[in-house]
């Protein structure tokens, strides 16, 4: 699978709408492709942000009005460009709901990235989770060193599983990859929530738990 194919299917992948075979292909590609992983993370962030927006139910009379408007006026490229310039000059924009969501998500990504980078520059990385040895109900911030220990353990187990995986029965491999996908999606969601709300104890608990779950999953399959 090449990057363009992967990115074309990423939205459906995130929605869980793909066939298992396609999911597995994408997950394989993502494991080796940093740019596609970045696109996936951005999309997850947009999905997460969109979910927090209030639901706007359009009036039932809206569609006939849109339809009539479309039939009446099909602006040319130059008309659209001139209108855009006019809007820019007068700061007068009319966005549709999807456009508003996309714009709001883009602003959120830019702002949160800026915040994270600025804090990182100060040497005070805000993303933390509960301690390795604590129960799920405890929520002391996890140090960067603790996080590295978890990541290292996961990395070692992943390497070991990856080496064995090719010899597995396809059904076994699918079960592993499907469940690894679920855990990775949960971890990505926890990271996004923590980047939005760095002090959120519940997200910290859930993220630590998700790390534990990933280790449990890898250990379970490391024995095959």
């Amino acid at each position: 699978m090449v990057c363009s194919q992967c990115q074309e299917l990423l939205s459906e992948y995130i929605d869980g709408a793909l066939e298992l075979g396609e999911q597995v292909n994408i997950e394989r590609h993502l494991s080796d492709c940093e740019p596609c992983r970045a696109v996936r993370d951005d999309l997850l962030q947009i999905v997460h942000f969109s979910q927090q927006l209030p639901v706007q139910a359009p009036a039932t009379s809206l569609w006939p009005r849109i339809n009539a408007g479309l039939a009446e006026f099909q602006p040319s490229f130059w008309n659209r460009s001139l209108r855009w310039l006019h809007n820019l000059r007068t700061l007068n924009f009319n966005f549709s709901v999807p456009q508003m969501i996309a714009t709001a998500a883009a602003i959120a990504i830019v702002v949160s990235t800026g915040i994270i980078l600025s804090r990182h520059d100060n040497g005070t990385t805000p993303i933390a989770t509960a301690g390795i040895t604590l129960s799920p109900s405890d929520a002391r911030p996890l140090s960067q060193a603790d996080l590295q220990v978890l990541e290292k353990q996961i990395s070692q187990l992943s390497d070991s599983v990856e080496q064995r995986k090719d010899s597995w029965d396809p059904e076994l491999r699918n079960a592993f990859e499907r469940n690894l996908l679920y855990v990775n999606q949960s971890l990505a969601e926890c990271r996004h929530q923590l980047s939005d709300h760095p002090g959120d104890d519940v997200s910290q608990e859930l993220m630590l738990n998700a790390y534990r779950e990933k280790i449990r999953l890898l250990e379970g399959f490391d024995k095959f």
């Binding site: 076994l172 679920y182 949960s186 969601e189 959120d200 519940v202 859930l206 779950e213 999953l217």
Partner: protein, 235 residues
């Protein structure tokens, strides 16, 4: 030539049919002196465990011929293991136990069903729906990566009840008079405590987490879901 071809085809089909039906049956009976601790470690297949009124443990399994079983008994500890291989060969267990048996169940793929148990219950699986019915255990610990968890039973004073799924719903049904301390966490922000919510005291409530005491408190009920719902019902 044609009759010969037909014969070869029939012979091939017969071989395929025989190998597809190649199954084995495992059956053991154990007679513990005291409340037993049964461990079942399986890879792929359903596991049904139900309490009966006898003092023996009866374990039966239908399995592919490639599955290797091991069982050993130390005192009242009974362990049955299907050995792991690179194939996801199937073994389906049906087990009857005395109600006070403590259970440890490990699986990778396959539904797990436990009924009528009053001993400790621990279930860890990767890809399993888990159903606990009519349990009255001092502790329950169920962790699955994907699958729904259904609990219909009672909580004992001082007991610990932990249910967790990363991709599935947690559906818990309790008697309305049951007291407990609740700690519910759902990354999906989908927690529905039904009429329990109104009577939860000293609670902290957020979209992803609800904690509090119902009636007098006592048993610790910890529910953790990620991409799934938490549903609490009164019986």
């Amino acid at each position: 030539m044609k009759p010969f071809l037909t014969f070869r085809l029939l012979f091939f089909l017969a071989i395929v049919t025989i190998s597809a039906d190649s199954q084995q049956r495992f059956e053991r009976s154990y007679s513990p002196q005291h409340p037993a601790h049964l461990t079942i470690s399986n890879v792929n297949g359903t596991i049904h465990i139900s309490a009966w009124d006898k003092k023996t443990v009866l374990a039966r399994a239908n399995a592919s011929s490639s599955v290797a079983f091991e069982d050993h008994v130390i005192g009242d500890d009974i362990t049955i293991v299907t050995k792991r291989s690179i194939r996801l060969a199937r073994a389906d267990f049906v087990v009857n136990v005395p109600p006070d048996t403590s259970l440890t169940v490990k699986n990778i793929v396959g539904k797990i069903d436990v009924r009528g148990i009053t001993g400790h219950v621990s279930i860890h699986s990767i890809d399993s729906d888990v159903q606990l019915t009519k349990v009255n255990s001092p502790s329950v610990d169920v962790i699955v990566t994907s699958g729904d968890i259904y609990f219909d039973g009672e909580l004992r004073d001082g007991g610990s009840y932990n249910l967790q799924s990363m991709k599935g719903d947690l559906d818990v049904t309790l008697p309305s008079a049951t007291s407990f301390n609740l700690n519910a966490r759902a990354l999906s922000e989908n927690i529905n405590l039904g009429s329990f919510l109104n009577s939860l005291s000293g609670s902290s409530r957020g979209p992803k987490g609800v904690s509090g005491t119902y009636l007098r408190g006592g048993p610790r009920l910890t529910l953790t879901a990620y991409a799934g719902r938490i549903l609490l019902h009164k019986k």
